[in-house]
C-alpha cells in the first residue's frame, strides 16, 4: 500500500490548570495511509477530541508532533478540514453561503466565479442537500445541518478529513442514513478520514482501522483493530456476519473489560444487564 500520509509521533499534551499541569495525552503514535478511514474510539474524557484538535492544528502538542505529507502541522488550515460535532454552521448564512465561505477561501484565484458556483452545488448535491441550498441552518433539521457541515468540509478538498463525533448529536435513524451517505461519498472520493466516535457499530461499519484509546489522564493508543470487511458494506447483511460481530466484540471488550471506567463501574454494570447488546455509548 501507499507510504505514510499522516504521522503522529510521540504526541503528548499538557494543559495548565490551577492545580498544576494536567497531562491529557501521553506518547500517541499513529501512522495513517492515504485514503484510509480511521476511527478513534474511547470513553469520554480520554482525549479523542484532543488528538483530533492537534491534527487540525487547533491545539499544539507539548512534545512530539504531526507530519502531513512531509510537512509539520503547526496551525489550522483547510487542507485538514474539520466536521464539528454540532455542525458549527454560521447561522446567518444559508447552506449555500456557508459552503461558499469555505470555497471562496480555498479556491480564491484558482477557480472562476462560475466554477466556484458549480463546485459548491456539486458538494451540496453530494450530501443530497441541493433542495435546501438557500435555507438557513435554523430552517433545516439536525441531520441536514450536519450534511451541510460535511459538504463544507468536502468542498475544501482536504487531504485529511477530520470528523469530531459527526453524528453524535443525531437520532439513530438519521445517523444510519448519514453513515450510508458517508460510505457512498467515501467510495467515490477515497478521502483520508479520521473520525471520532463513541458508537461501536459506527466504528466497525465505516472504518478500515479502529484506534482504541485508553482512559485518561495520560491517555494513549491502547489497541488498533484492522477491519477487513469487504466494501461496499451493508448494515443489514453485516448484522448476521460472524466477522462483523467478532470485530464488535473486540471493541466492546476493550471498552468495557480492559478499559472499564473505574468511577462509572456501577452505572455500566446496570446498563449492561438491562441491554447487553446495546450500542456502546459513553455517558
Amino acid at each position: 500500500m501507499d507510504k505514510t500520509h499522516l504521522e503522529l509521533t510521540g504526541v503528548s499534551i499538557e494543559f495548565p490548570t490551577p492545580k498544576g499541569s494536567f497531562k491529557a495525552l501521553d506518547d500517541v503514535n499513529l501512522k495513517i495511509k492515504k485514503g484510509e478511514f480511521i476511527s478513534l474510539i474511547g470513553h469520554s474524557g480520554c482525549g479523542k477530541s484532543t488528538v483530533l484538535n492537534i491534527v487540525a492544528g487547533l491545539h499544539r502538542a507539548t512534545t512530539g508532533g504531526v507530519v502531513l505529507d512531509g510537512k509539520e502541522v503547526n496551525e489550522p488550515g483547510p487542507e485538514r478540514a474539520v466536521v464539528f460535532q454540532n455542525h458549527s454552521l454560521l447561522p446567518w448564512l444559508t447552506a449555500y453561503e456557508n459552503v461558499e465561505l469555505a470555497v471562496k477561501q480555498v479556491f480564491k484565484g484558482k477557480k472562476s466565479k462560475a466554477e466556484m458556483r458549480e463546485w459548491i452545488e456539486h458538494n451540496l448535491n453530494l450530501v443530497h442537500m441541493s433542495h435546501a441550498m438557500n435555507k438557513r441552518p435554523a430552517e433545516i433539521s439536525g441531520g441536514m445541518k450536519q450534511r451541510v457541515g460535511i459538504a463544507r468540509a468536502l468542498a475544501m478538498e482536504p487531504s485529511v478529513l477530520l470528523m469530531d463525533e459527526p453524528f453524535g448529536a443525531l437520532d439513530a435513524l438519521t445517523r444510519a442514513h448519514l453513515q450510508d451517505s458517508l460510505m457512498e461519498i467515501q467510495k467515490d472520493l477515497n478521502n483520508t478520514v479520521i473520525m471520532i466516535t463513541h458508537d461501536v457499530d459506527e466504528a466497525v461499519l465505516l472504518s478500515d482501522r479502529i484506534v482504541m484509546m485508553t482512559n485518561g489522564p495520560a491517555a494513549t493508543v491502547g489497541e488498533i483493530l484492522q477491519v477487513e470487511l469487504e466494501r461496499p458494506r451493508n448494515r443489514i447483511q453485516l448484522a448476521d456476519d460472524p466477522q462483523y460481530n467478532h470485530y464488535r466484540h473486540e471493541v466492546l471488550s476493550f471498552l468495557y473489560e480492559k478499559q472499564r471506567k473505574v468511577e462509572d463501574i456501577k452505572e455500566h454494570q446496570t446498563a449492561k444487564k438491562s441491554q447487553p447488546e446495546a450500542t456502546a455509548k459513553s455517558a
Binding site: A56, Q105, A138
Partner: protein
C-alpha cells in the same frame, strides 16, 4: 361578516376557533389594559396635583397641561405665520427694487424670531443624534477591538470602569472650556453650545455600546472561532463574516441603552450649555416663573418622555431590519 372571518383577520395572539369571546378578550388585553392604566394615572395626577401649592400657583394637572400644549402649538403656528409674512414682504420689496433698477443690490435676510417649542424639539433631536452617532462611531469599532483582544481589554477596562459612571454635569464645565479653547473660528459652522452639548452627550453615552459590543464579541461561540481558524479567514473577513453578525444583538442592546442615556443627558447638558433645545426651554420657563411655567415644563416633560420612547422603538426597528435572525424576539 361572521365572527369566524373576523378571527382570521386578526393578528396572532388569538387562537383559531376561540370565536367572538376570544376576540373580545384579545382586544381587552391589548387595548383595554393600557387604556385603563393611563386613565388611572391621569386620575391620580389630577387629584394629587390640585393639592400641591407652589409659589407659581397650583401644580399643573392634565387639564392645564393640555391647555399649555395647545398654547405652545398656537405660538408655533403664529411664529410660522410671521416668518412667512416676513419673507413675503422681503420678496415684494426686492421685486420692486429690481423693477426700478435691474442692477440694484438685493439683500436677502433670514427671519430671526424666537425659537418656538417645536423648533427646540428639532434642535434637541439633531444634537442628540449627532452626539449618539459620534459615540457609536467610536464605541463599536473600539468595542470590537477590545472584544477580540484580551490584552486590550485588560488595559482599557479600568479606564472604562472609571469614566462610565461620571455624570454629564461633571463633564460639562470641562467640555465647555475645551470647546471654547479649541473651537475658535470667526464664522463658526455650529454654535459652541451645540458642540458642547454634543460632546457631553457623546462622552456619557459611549460606555454601554462599548461594553456591550466588547462582551458580545468576546463571547462568540468557540466553534465558530474554530471554523474561522480552520478556514484561515483573514482578520477583516473574520470580523465581517463572523464577529459582526454574531454580536449584532449585543451591539444593539448597547446602542439602545446608549441612546436612552444620550437623551437623558442631553436635557441636562442643554440646560447648562444654553443649547437652544428642550433643556433650555425647561430652564427658561423655570427662570421665567409665570403662572403658566409649570404647565409648560410639564408639557416638555411629557414630550421628552414620548420622544425617548419613540427613539427606542426606532432603534428596535433598525435592529429588526439589520439582524439576520428575523425570528428573534425583540422587546
Amino acid at each position: 361578516m361572521s365572527s369566524g372571518k373576523l378571527v382570521q383577520m386578526l393578528p396572532a395572539g388569538i387562537a383559531q376557533g376561540d370565536g367572538l369571546a376570544g376576540v373580545i378578550s384579545f382586544v381587552a388585553r391589548t387595548l383595554g389594559l393600557p387604556i385603563l392604566g393611563l386613565a388611572l394615572f391621569l386620575m391620580f395626577w389630577q387629584a394629587g396635583a390640585s393639592k400641591v401649592e407652589t409659589s407659581l400657583g397650583t401644580f399643573p394637572g392634565p387639564v392645564e397641561v393640555w391647555e399649555q400644549t395647545q398654547a405652545l402649538v398656537a405660538e408655533h403656528l403664529e411664529e410660522q405665520q410671521r416668518a412667512e409674512e416676513f419673507y413675503q414682504r422681503q420678496e415684494e420689496r426686492n421685486a420692486k427694487r429690481l423693477e426700478k433698477d435691474p442692477n440694484a443690490p438685493i439683500k436677502v435676510r433670514e427671519y430671526i424670531g424666537k425659537p418656538t417649542f417645536f423648533d427646540q424639539i428639532g434642535t434637541s433631536l439633531i444634537t442628540v443624534l449627532a452626539g449618539f452617532v459620534i459615540a457609536s462611531l467610536i464605541a463599536i469599532p473600539l468595542g470590537i477591538c477590545i472584544g477580540l483582544s484580551a490584552s486590550l481589554n485588560a488595559a482599557l477596562n479600568p479606564v472604562i470602569q472609571i469614566f462610565k459612571p461620571v455624570s454629564p454635569l461633571a463633564w460639562l464645565p470641562l467640555v465647555t472650556m475645551v470647546v471654547s479653547a479649541v473651537y475658535v473660528s470667526d464664522d463658526p459652522m455650529f454654535a459652541k453650545s451645540f458642540i458642547t452639548s454634543l460632546f457631553t452627550v457623546a462622552l456619557c453615552c459611549l460606555w454601554p455600546t462599548l461594553l456591550n459590543t466588547s462582551v458580545g464579541v468576546s463571547t462568540i461561540s468557540p466553534d465558530l472561532q474554530n471554523v474561522s481558524k480552520v478556514l484561515r479567514l483573514s482578520w477583516m473577513t473574520h470580523v465581517v463574516k463572523i464577529v459582526l453578525p454574531s454580536s449584532v444583538p449585543m451591539i444593539f442592546t448597547g446602542l439602545r441603552l446608549s441612546l436612552g442615556i444620550a437623551w437623558m443627558v442631553l436635557i441636562a447638558a442643554e440646560m447648562l450649555a444654553q443649547n437652544p433645545g428642550l433643556g433650555k426651554f425647561v430652564w427658561d420657563e423655570f427662570q421665567n416663573g409665570s403662572s403658566n411655567s409649570l404647565g409648560r415644563i410639564m408639557v416638555a416633560v411629557l414630550v421628552i418622555g414620548l420622544i425617548g420612547f419613540a427613539l427606542d422603538r426606532i432603534m428596535l426597528m433598525v435592529q429588526r431590519f439589520v439582524s439576520w435572525d428575523k425570528t428573534a424576539v425583540f422587546r
